[in-house]
């Protein structure tokens, strides 16, 4: 029998994991909602940003926070690069080809990382304390990641709601023909969106590197999960993805403690499949 305290700890850990997952899903969801293309390789770009932080810290001796900011720049640059080199030529292709082109990017990133940096697991060794609250042990790095990802999400929200560019981005996701009539250039907005999405990947990378070691196949560990969350929340629906991230994180965390780590994921995926049948437009979609 598992003591309740462990389950409580799993719940708390699930909430903390949920914050990071929500951040991952938000960046992907932004790109999807605006450009209408699923970046299969999104989490691999996050992994590249993690490598960026790692090398900035270990090779160049940057402080972690500065390296984190550097990762955001790297992420934004990668986002623009991916958009201009890969997405722009296939904007009008059938969706399966778009999916597969970004899938090819996934293979490419994974193998380039293997080629350049080998399959070693790399992490920046920061020793952060563990906090004990009423018998529950919470790692400070997770708490930090959670808090910062919430902040990043608020920043994204304000950017989309309060700035002119953000309004234009929201407009283009609503109707891409009408926005051109309003005098904005969708192509330019796409680039901006890719940059913002890439910057979110940079934030996520900076927050993940303090918890996890990065390796070339890191994207495979979080990639499918990020997709499930986006779809579960409703593709393009930011609020839905936010809550879906916490639901999935709870299932994985608690299921992992109750049964086993793999079974936690299995249960999460099965729930995803079932929810797809029952609520195909996402958990917050109107029934129709």
């Amino acid at each position: 029998m598992i003591e309740p305290i462990f389950i409580l700890e799993a719940v708390v850990n699930g909430i903390l994991l949920g914050g990071v997952l929500a951040l991952l899903a938000l960046g992907l969801n932004l790109i999807f909602g605006v450009i209408d293309i699923v970046w299969i390789a999104y989490v691999d770009i996050v992994a590249l940003c993690m490598y960026g932080v790692y090398f900035l810290v270990t090779l160049y001796g940057w402080p972690l926070w500065l390296a984190g900011l550097g990762a955001i720049v790297i992420g934004a640059g990668l986002g623009v690069l991916v958009h201009l080199l890969i997405i722009t030529p296939i904007l009008s292709s059938p969706p399966i080809n778009q999916l597969l082109a970004t899938g090819g990017l996934l293979f490419f990133i994974q193998s380039v990382a293997t080629l350049l940096w080998s399959t070693d697991h790399r992490s920046v060794r920061v020793t952060l304390p563990t906090i004990e609250v009423g018998g529950i042990f919470i790692s400070f790095s997770r708490l930090l990641a959670f808090g910062l990802s919430i902040l990043a999400m608020i920043a994204l929200y304000l950017f989309l709601k309060r700035t002119y560019t953000g309004t234009a981005i929201r407009a283009v996701s609503q109707d891409r023909e009408a926005i051109a009539l309003m005098g904005a250039r969708p192509q330019r907005l796409y680039v901006v969106t890719s940059a913002v999405g890439g910057a979110m990947a940079g934030v996520a990378g900076a927050l993940l590197i303090i918890q996890y070691a990065v390796h070339p196949y890191f994207g495979g560990a979080f990639g499918p999960l990020t997709f499930m969350i986006c779809v579960l929340g409703g593709l393009g629906n930011m609020v839905g993805a936010f809550f879906a991230a916490f639901i999935m994180a709870q299932v994985i965390s608690v299921g992992g403690v109750l049964v086993s780590t793999e079974m936690g994921y299995v249960i999460a995926f099965v729930i995803f499949i079932v929810l797809m049948f029952v609520r195909p437009g996402g958990i917050f979609a109107k029934r129709g």
Partner: protein
């Protein structure tokens, strides 16, 4: 022309059958090994394309492959059940799994991206399950096929001579082509294409959407499971990452799309190219630059998908036999856009000169995709290739012999279409 291609095809087959007896020197075992893999993987690719060509883009075929492979191996390892029975059970199990997934997918109209993601999740569930049941399956370490010992090779299906599996693989591949061809010539194809274009419209003219979808899924899953079982028996080792999960699923899809999803030999061409390329790069670079082979592979994939969306074989065939803009026939999620009369059933089309399809008012670029789950409304208002009314004369082959041979099928199709409402030509 057709006869010449037929003779050429038969000669190529004969040459393939003779390869094991060519004096290839020290490398012969290796060459056989590569060719066997090409046969088996293109068999699997063919099975995938049975679904993929009708807009049912599955990213979960790794699940079917994995269940087929693991069921066969575990039944042999733990119960000593001969693979003859084990493969049948594995295929049945996989079909059951496929139906359990396909039925709700069809009932709740999960299509497009959503179908791809649900199948992706199914693939991950199967892979993680295999890893979790490590007492049985060896977890991530994989499991080796127990040797048959003194038992005869025919009973255990383990052979010291690779040539046996060469012919098994070739037979499987030809069997896959035959199934593809039968589906291509059947009434089901018209129905499936109609379903792929617009499920609601298809249902409204009396096509049983669920039945057809489940049928094609079961067929595809069964063939995939058979392929997985054969791969497991040949390699004598299964691993959740090499025979299940997302990586494998994506590799299958990539190879097929690279070769061409809508043509009989497309999967074979794609698989042969990807395997040959990766083997070549592996040998060329050896252990000097680990990962370079995959890097080049990924780069080529991106380039091919951007510049040759119809696939290598599909593009070549189009360039040789038809003068139609390739962009029109490129499919969308909701199914193949090609006009059915212009697509040949056998790789050598008998009516080469089809007038160019009318330029569509609905160029792919201006198409907006929204996310309702029934086929997007945009596709309903303007179809990329408007179909002619059923009574319009079909382009005929120049060769009379070919006409006589082939006219059987369209006429039969039309005759049977009279009894049931025609799947094509639905009001838009």
């Amino acid at each position: 022309m057709t006869t010449a291609f037929r003779v050429l095809g038969l000669l190529a087959l004969a040459a393939m059958a003779l390869i094991p007896f060519l004096p290839l020197g020290a490398a012969q075992e290796y060459i056989w090994h590569v060719i066997i893999q090409i046969f088996l993987w293109s068999f699997v690719g063919n099975a995938w394309s049975l679904m993929g060509r009708f807009g049912l883009v599955s990213l979960g075929h790794g699940a079917f492959l994995g269940v087929g492979a693991y069921a066969t191996v575990l039944l042999w390892n733990f119960y000593g059940m001969t693979p003859w029975v084990g493969v049948v059970l594995a295929v049945l199990l996989t079909v059951a799994l496929a139906l359990v997934v396909a039925y709700p997918c069809s009932r709740f109209q999960v299509v497009g991206h959503y179908f791809a993601l649900v199948t992706l999740a199914v693939g991950e569930v199967v892979r993680l399950w295999i890893v979790a049941e490590r007492d049985w399956t060896g977890g991530s370490l994989g499991v080796s096929l127990k040797t048959g010992g003194a038992a005869s090779g025919l009973w255990t299906l383990q052979f010291a001579d690779k040539r046996v599996f060469y012919y098994v693989g070739m037979a499987a591949w030809l069997f896959g082509l035959w199934v593809w061809w039968r589906v291509d010539r059947s009434m089901a194809r018209s129905a499936m294409e109609a379903i792929g274009e617009d499920e609601t419209a298809a249902a409204s003219v009396g096509i049983r959407v669920t039945r057809f979808k489940m049928g094609i899924t079961a067929l595809s899953a069964a063939l995939t499971a058979l392929g997985g079982a054969l791969l497991a028996l040949y390699l004598a080792y299964t691993n959740p990452d090499t025979l299940s999960g997302i990586g494998v699923s994506l590799r299958i899809v990539f190879a097929v799309v690279l070769g061409g999803m809508y043509s009989l030999l497309g999967p074979f061409v794609g698989t042969a190219l990807t395997i040959a390329l990766s083997e070549y790069l592996r040998i060329y670079f050896g252990i000097k630059l680990i990962g370079i082979a995959e890097t080049i592979y990924g780069l080529l994939l991106i380039i091919f998908i951007i510049f040759l969306p119809a696939g290598i074989y599909g593009s070549i065939r189009d360039a040789l036999f038809r003068r139609r803009p390739a962009a029109v026939r490129v499919p969308s999620w909701s199914g193949s856009r090609s006009a059915p009369w212009s697509r040949s059933s056998w790789p050598w089309p008998s009516w080469p000169a089809v007038a160019a399809a009318p330029p569509s008012s609905c160029a792919a670029g201006s198409r907006t995709r929204r996310w309702p789950r029934i086929a997007p409304s945009a596709s309903r208002s303007c179809r990329p290739t408007p179909r002619p009314p059923p009574s319009s004369p079909r382009p005929r082959a120049s060769s009379t012999a070919a006409t006589a041979r082939r006219s059987r099928s369209p006429r039969a199709r039309r005759a049977s279409a009279r009894s049931t409402p025609p799947p094509t030509g639905t009001p838009t």
